[in-house]
């Protein structure tokens, strides 16, 4: 009887561990989106608007995180960005930046895993833009940067937004690469899925696990719905 009421009470409130995991997940996913934004726009533009040698290879590289085991990506990051790794050592010496076991490292792992989602969404919107509009802008005296800023970028905004929100929502739940690269440290790298995993590992963590699962479900659904609504109103505003 007593345990049942405590259980019910806990179901109604988010405790400190849940809030910490939620804050961390939002932080990591947000940083990952910011990290990805410019490279994703650049790569999507390259892949749709330019023909160059190695284009197919670049396309495949971008999509690799979708098909590789996330644990493998985490392991690769550990090798590259670890304190003794070639890039990690350099980052440490030059900027004193350590990614292993830090929130920043979690953001990098999440960014790499969600990069293809973002590129795909932006690319889709770029392909929908008639390149004839850019030609028209050209005949009206607009140079390359001018054309990109005044025509291409505004018209691809719905795709950028959709991509960012999908990547953010997916980033909230990134597990394998994060746990492999930066481990599962409460308050530092323990995001929602990692907290959920830890709760499942502990003998009396069932209630916590259920709350975390519900939270993840709500966040994911909410994120996708918001993205769809925003993209739709943006498209209307752009007259498409």
């Amino acid at each position: 009887m007593h345990t049942a009421t405590v259980y019910a009470a806990r179901m109604n409130w988010l405790g400190e561990p849940e809030l910490a995991a939620l804050r961390l997940s939002l932080d990591v996913a947000g940083r990952a989106v910011l990290l990805n934004l410019l490279p994703a726009i650049a790569i999507a533009w390259l892949l749709t608007r330019r023909r160059f040698a190695g284009r197919t290879l670049l396309d495949a590289m971008v999509h690799l995180p979708l098909v590789l085991p996330p644990v493998m990506v985490g392991y690769l990051l550990l090798l590259l960005l670890g304190v003794h790794g070639p890039v990690g050592r350099w980052l440490d010496q030059l900027f004193g930046l350590r990614l292993v076991f830090t929130t920043g490292g979690a953001a990098v792992a999440t960014a790499i895993m969600s990069f293809p989602l973002m590129v795909r969404a932006i690319r889709l919107s770029l392909e929908g833009i008639d390149s004839g509009l850019e030609q028209a802008a050209r005949t009206l005296g607009a140079g390359p940067i001018d054309r990109f800023v005044s025509i291409t970028l505004p018209l691809m905004l719905p795709g950028v937004l959709a991509g960012a929100i999908t990547a953010f929502a997916a980033g909230l739940g990134e597990f394998g690469a994060v746990v492999t690269f930066v481990s599962n440290i409460p308050g530092e790298t323990r995001t929602l899925p990692l907290a959920l995993y830890a709760a499942l590992q502990s003998p009396d963590g069932d209630a916590l696990a259920a709350r975390l699962a519900l939270l993840s479900f709500g966040l994911g659904l909410g994120g996708l719905l918001t993205g769809e609504v925003l993209a739709r109103s943006l498209r209307r505003w752009l007259g498409r």
Partner: protein, 366 residues
């Protein structure tokens, strides 16, 4: 002055053009779909590459493959009106008009802006988005946008092709106003002969990547190269003239063409107006003796110049005085029975109701 000498090989298609045309005026590039018109125009605009040769517009070299000169499209100052308008969907109509204007080396004055808006009837559309405009309205906005970029040359690539007949009639008169009121040279691409007849001052007939005939509308209308392209019904002499007298009771106007005088039905035409008349070859009757008691309003004397077979009939070219020539399509048996031969004196019969006169709207006198 527009000078183009270009050669480009693309797969099995070869574009090979060498032409000089005077500006201003409307130079029509006429030919069937796929004859290389758009290829040529895109090279002229700088939107496509890979050709050999030269493009010179009013003493400015835009392209010279031998010297490695290639002025980028954005610096050529070409007002390009595309077949599909290509308005920017995220700008209002005013925003679209401003786009080119803001980027012109010398932006148009407010008065000029108002003039163009007025000329094309754009005032009621200014606040609207392109998405809600009709096809004809879109093309008018595209024209305005091109004009306000202060172009040296206006390129119109089949601006009417995507419109149905009624919408075309919405846009054509505006194009005629542009031609008559603005001193901007225009290159007008079309596969519609009637559009060319209404707008052009000079015509380049293209076929399979080559210019097969070039000249003013009157001489082009007689060119043998045209016959394969326009089809038998559209063949016929086109004459430029002006209205000398008009009978308001009967609606008949006396149209002076060269030394000849034609009586035609011309609606709303005042004396002195320039008209362009197409006399279709199949509507013109020839007689070797003076006919009597006919309803035909025009009986002209003429000298037979040439006989050329065209399909299952003959095309007879007749000089009706002072070098003005008309074409008549008659059967072979008629050619034989009347014993037609060059130099023969003939009567040329033209029905007043069978001809179409296009009135040049702006110029009151010739």
């Amino acid at each position: 002055m527009l000078h183009i000498a270009l050669r480009q090989q693309r797969g099995t298609f070869t574009l090979d053009v060498n032409l000089t045309a005077s500006t201003p005026g409307v130079i029509a590039l006429f030919g069937r779909s796929g004859c290389g018109k758009t290829t040529l125009v895109n090279l002229l605009a700088g939107l496509s590459q890979g050709a050999q040769g030269r493009i010179v517009v009013d003493d400015q070299v835009w392209f010279d493959s031998a010297r490695g000169v290639q002025v980028p499209a954005e610096l050529r100052r070409i007002g390009y009106v595309f077949q599909d308008a290509r308005l920017f969907p995220h700008y209002s109509v005013r925003g679209n008009l401003d786009y080119g204007a803001k980027r012109a080396p010398q932006p148009p004055s407010a008065a000029r802006f108002d003039e163009v808006v007025d000329l094309l009837g754009l005032a009621p559309l200014l606040q609207r988005r392109p998405g809600g405009l009709s096809g004809g309205e879109r093309q008018r906005v595209a024209l305005g946008r091109a004009l306000l970029s202060q172009p040296r040359l206006l390129l119109l690539d089949e601006p009417l092709a995507s419109l149905d007949a009624a919408r075309r009639e919405d846009v054509l008169p505006w194009l005629e106003r542009l031609r008559d009121q603005l001193q901007i040279p225009m290159v007008f691409v079309s596969h519609q002969y009637d559009e060319v007849l209404r707008l052009a001052t000079e015509v380049l007939v293209m076929d399979d990547g080559r210019v097969v005939a070039q000249g003013d509308v009157a001489s082009i209308s007689l060119a043998p190269a045209l016959r394969a392209i326009v089809g038998p019904d559209a063949i016929g002499a086109v004459l430029d003239g002006h209205i000398e007298r008009r009978d308001t009771a009967t609606g008949l106007a006396d149209v002076r063409v060269g030394e000849g005088l034609l009586q035609l039905l011309c609606a709303d035409a005042s004396v002195g107006r320039r008209v362009r008349v197409q006399l279709r070859a199949r509507d013109i009757i020839l007689a070797t003796v003076e006919p009597q008691g006919l309803s035909v309003r025009n009986q002209l004397r003429g000298t037979l110049c040439s006989i050329s077979p065209d399909g299952d009939s003959d095309l007879i070219e007749v000089d009706i005085g002072g070098g003005t020539r008309v074409l008549s399509r008659i059967t072979r048996s008629a050619t034989q029975q009347l014993q037609l031969r060059p130099g023969l004196l003939l009567w040329v019969l033209v029905k007043a109701v069978s001809t179409r006169g296009h009135i040049f709207p702006a110029e009151a006198t010739d």
